[in-house]
Symmetry: C2
Subunit: 304 residues, 2 copies
Amino acid sequence: MRIAVVGSGALGLYYGALLQRAGNEVTFLLRRDYEAVSASGLTVRSINGDFKLDKVSAALRPEEIGETELVLVGLKTFANDSYQELIAPLVGDKTYILTLQNGLGNEELLAELFGSYRILGGVAFLCANRGEPGTVHHLGAGRIELGCFADAPESLLTEVAVMFRAAGVDCRQVRDLKSARWQKLVWNIPFNGLCTLLNAPVDRLLTNAATRSLVRDIMLEVIAAANAQGLQEPIPAEFAEKMLVFSDGMGPYRPSMLIDREEQRPLELDAIFARAVAAGAKSGVQLDKTSMLHSLLQFVSAEC
Amino acid sequence: MRIAVVGSGALGLYYGALLQRAGNEVTFLLRRDYEAVSASGLTVRSINGDFKLDKVSAALRPEEIGETELVLVGLKTFANDSYQELIAPLVGDKTYILTLQNGLGNEELLAELFGSYRILGGVAFLCANRGEPGTVHHLGAGRIELGCFADAPESLLTEVAVMFRAAGVDCRQVRDLKSARWQKLVWNIPFNGLCTLLNAPVDRLLTNAATRSLVRDIMLEVIAAANAQGLQEPIPAEFAEKMLVFSDGMGPYRPSMLIDREEQRPLELDAIFARAVAAGAKSGVQLDKTSMLHSLLQFVSAEC
């Protein structure tokens, strides 16, 4: 498949590299890594084994790429106001768009701009960071849960899922994309939020009794809001404990938002926090802890 | 009056200096400032005018001071387990003890150890920091609200209040010490808490819309808990706005807990946070935001 990766952070570089290695024709829209990747290719340091792509197709502007079959969107959500500029030149009649971004509201905005029939959504459970230009570090996990946003054909979803699986990605088709998104928020809201606020990796939060308990409380709050969204199946409260134990295995992982803070980038507060709080409120669930965390992060973000 | 100042941080040094200047016989129990004060006296840099006490009576151990008329307690509350060791040698039949410490539970513990009939409580609204050894900076405010804890004679309270006023302190006798304590918590919980968590002075919190709003919400939560404590008069909700406007005048003030963090001292979390949350819960008011702030500060404290 011909694929354009828009938003080549850790996530875009990692999945794009796997897809290219599996034989797909991938072009990366790059900024920071453009020169390194053009000159020397792309290196993946992965818990599943390192590999290097010597020849990588890189572009600085979407017009250099032109129409493609699949646009893989890995942009930071604070850059979603660039959707039109970055994606429109890639879209033709038969182009599909898959967003693997964090948080809520991405599929909706893409559908508004490009038509809902071509929008797929995916939730990536991936621990990865960028290294020096041209290198991405895959530190753990990597599962993708894929779903149709609205009226995209199920057959296309299957085709994309098969493509990811052929590339070695644990990729599952889910009937309820909304549920997958909220399940990821159950992790993202406490861990991206608290790690960024406290400038600490996952394990330090989990070994401190006060913050471990706070993480659990925030998870339960998000689960309550999720279950008010009309999911096909409710998320059980035990999911919180399961995620805590899963996170114990992450060690000193630094979530993406903490790295955004360290690198003085904007934080993905709207997609992960504001929209979750708003969705909760709309369905009668007050996300008080999430909302307080959001306020604290707005301060942190303004100080960056 | 013969006075021993126990806990010679900014508060103890400042009020002790004023009391000595007004003619009282003051001895300071010192640690960090002992050598500087013994050698060169005590300097007060104050918005009300600087002054210097050339000769100051300083002690390293309470046994050097012996029985006194009034013990002025300015200890950090995390040192309250030293009450017995530091105060007992100062107490005779006619000794009274005044605590000007932060938070809840100090009078109770002093009463348990030394008898409730000799315990006075005061709430100091003081912006002061220690400077180099032997110097204290008075940056703003300074009012004390004095009350009897239990069965101390009212006449004694009046005598102490008159003494403070003669020393130039705006000192008011209040009938409801509990109300004064909670009014100070309305300030201390959000500002000590958030400034310490976010490593930022008062003005930065107030000029950011998200944290200004959060400060207000926390104040309202504390007011609700205060009003469940059987105060003689409820604290009106407008007190929050009044405190916000008052705090706007503080500029880049760094609350004492932030300075404790900077100087890697323990934080006064039990007296200011844990006891307030417990008092609220006992009277049916959940202090959710205060409780979350407490959890976050426990993490910060453990990392210091």
